[in-house]
Symmetry: C2
Subunit: 345 residues, 2 copies
């Protein structure tokens, strides 16, 4: 399949940045001794989700234990390490951004009736809709509370703007696959809101608490934004190419839910496949057609082209780090770029 070739081609690419990029996030964290610092953030998160309400405490601990890779927290800490790093200071935005991320996932799953995430039953499915709604609200407030520990008002401002942007993304669907420029604009706007805004504020806040100059903060903000865009594009590619066992959901899940993403947009642009043409011009899709459509998108090169866009976006991200001298930290941020492109889940 063409896609595999693209990936293999990328991961063996001969270039200064990706030369020997490890694509395992744990490996990157080990090389930068980040595990202890992330454990510190994790401990704060566990404290933060404690509540006088027993059900909130239980559901909060449940969701924190299933917290995933903590990539956003790691970005805050690594960005801070490019400046005057202080774990205590950096841990506040790191924890706040992970809390916001958890809150928005809980509410997303509630709205989308998602039954499982990261291999675990979702909060509304395990408890009920009220608990999911209230826990999300509680974590939003806990995130704000966490930021109250850092008296730099810019952090609150960026965080609040990002939180608003994330929820705006929730209500900004891609509504059409043609013409291409409209479809691309809608898609980029949506993922910019939904995903890139949080990656951006993570890197921006990390640099700010480490005393970065306005220009350094701006560079990190741009790095984070591009990284987040690429992360979401790859996520959307994996929905077509991913393995059900690894992803925890069958391929074509987005299509089944009516979510139009970049691989489909590019496939429609490039191919006259009857089913693609039909999808481009009708509002609804028969679920039984999903496997055929997934194949059609891959055959038309939609996933491949989307992945190429992710690769270019990562290059834009890494270019934002040019002004920083070489360091283990800078290498780790490059490696995260490689991880984002190569990940399988």
């Amino acid at each position: 399949m063409a896609l595999t070739a693209v990936r293999r081609g990328f991961s063996t690419k001969e270039g200064p940045v990706f030369a020997s990029a490890p694509v395992d996030l744990n490996h990157i964290f080990r090389q930068t001794n980040l595990h202890d610092d992330l454990a510190y953030v994790e401990h704060r998160l566990m404290q933060r989700v404690e509540s006088r309400s027993p059900v909130l405490s239980s559901a909060g601990a449940y969701i924190t234990a299933a917290g995933g890779k903590r990539l956003r927290a790691a970005l805050v800490l690594l960005a801070a390490r490019l400046g005057n790093y202080n774990l205590h200071h950096a841990s506040h935005p790191a924890a706040a951004i992970e809390l916001l991320h958890s809150a928005s996932l809980i509410h997303d799953d509630l709205v989308d009736h998602t039954q499982r995430r990261r291999g675990r039953v979702t909060v509304h499915a395990r408890w009920n809709n009220t608990v999911a709604l209230v826990l999300g609200d509680y974590l939003f407030a806990a995130a704000t509370d966490e930021l109250a520990n850092e008296p730099d008002p810019r952090l609150i401002e960026w965080y609040a703007a990002a939180a608003q942007t994330v929820v705006e993304g929730e209500l900004s669907p891609v509504t059409q696959l043609e013409p291409l420029d409209i479809a691309l604009a809608q898609y980029r706007y949506k993922i910019g809101c939904k995903t890139a805004a949080l990656f951006k504020v993570a890197c921006q806040a990390g640099m700010a608490v480490a005393g970065g100059t306005p220009e350094e903060i701006e560079r990190l903000a741009e790095f984070g934004y591009h990284l987040g865009m690429a992360f979401q594009i790859v996520d959307d590619v994996l929905d077509f190419t991913g393995d059900e066992d690894t992803l925890g959901k069958p391929a074509g899940n987005d299509l089944r839910e009516g979510t139009l993403t970049l691989p489909l947009i590019y496939a429609v642009m490039q191919d006259d496949h009857a089913l693609l043409r039909q999808v481009a011009h009708t509002a609804s899709l028969d679920p039984s057609q999903v496997p055929e459509l997934v194949s059609a998108v891959i055959d038309a090169g939609g996933a491949e082209r989307a992945l190429e866009e992710a690769r270019i976006t990562i290059e834009h991200a890494l270019a934002c780090l040019d002004r920083f001298p070489s360091s283990t930290t800078k290498q780790a941020l490059s490696d995260i770029g490689a991880f984002v492109l190569a990940r399988q889940a």
Copy 2:
């Protein structure tokens, strides 16, 4: 009915505080020239609910236009007027607290499937559940953003703690009517979280932005807390004694939804009425019994006793203002206490 006598007795009470208390909130605002300042806050709120998402903007404008009395914003401004008042500074917590209040009402209505509030169709009923969920999240974030304008980190801290407390209250029901001490503790905890926490932070934040001393801030916090407790008790009394046309909902609505409040707790304590005894010992209530139960609660003096508790609570609130010299502002805060007790809706 005994209740009317209690109210009449109160509103003609001969005392320095309540001597000629106007119980119309508009009258209180006029006497303190607060209308223009509240209009300034209202304008900020309208700006705040604007979004790049058209549906969020529409629903946000809809909910802001139905914003009610803005009692919490008025408390911020009046508390600030006890110190070095600056409308611009005071408007930030005033707007933030109203945004938080709106967000929590939208989410409450969603969870409780409430179809109408303040005579208008609720957000989830007019749009859909997703819009209600996301708009609430958006307003929570907008409130945080509003506070980013005031660099005093205490404001963020108090606000975030209050936001957490409000949502904790949502999951803290009164589960039993006997023994009395348990029932009262559950009830007071719930309304302390759900209502008083926000009144408290309103008054506290107002005093803080006006440069109050820690002791002055603490006095205002206590004033607000007691005022909020009384406000909620009266709310719960009105659910038994209120007029359907004024309230916009039939009496006994809380009972119908299984919400156990102070008038019922006191009625069960005081009376051996068969239905009250039955309610005290069963988990569910037949909706057809609600009108009879409403009458039984009133006949047993439950509403009257709850209102007496509200009156004493207001006295506690006003005592917190003792250290402040007489002023139009202090009188207005007293008058708001009288308004809270005498209000019919």
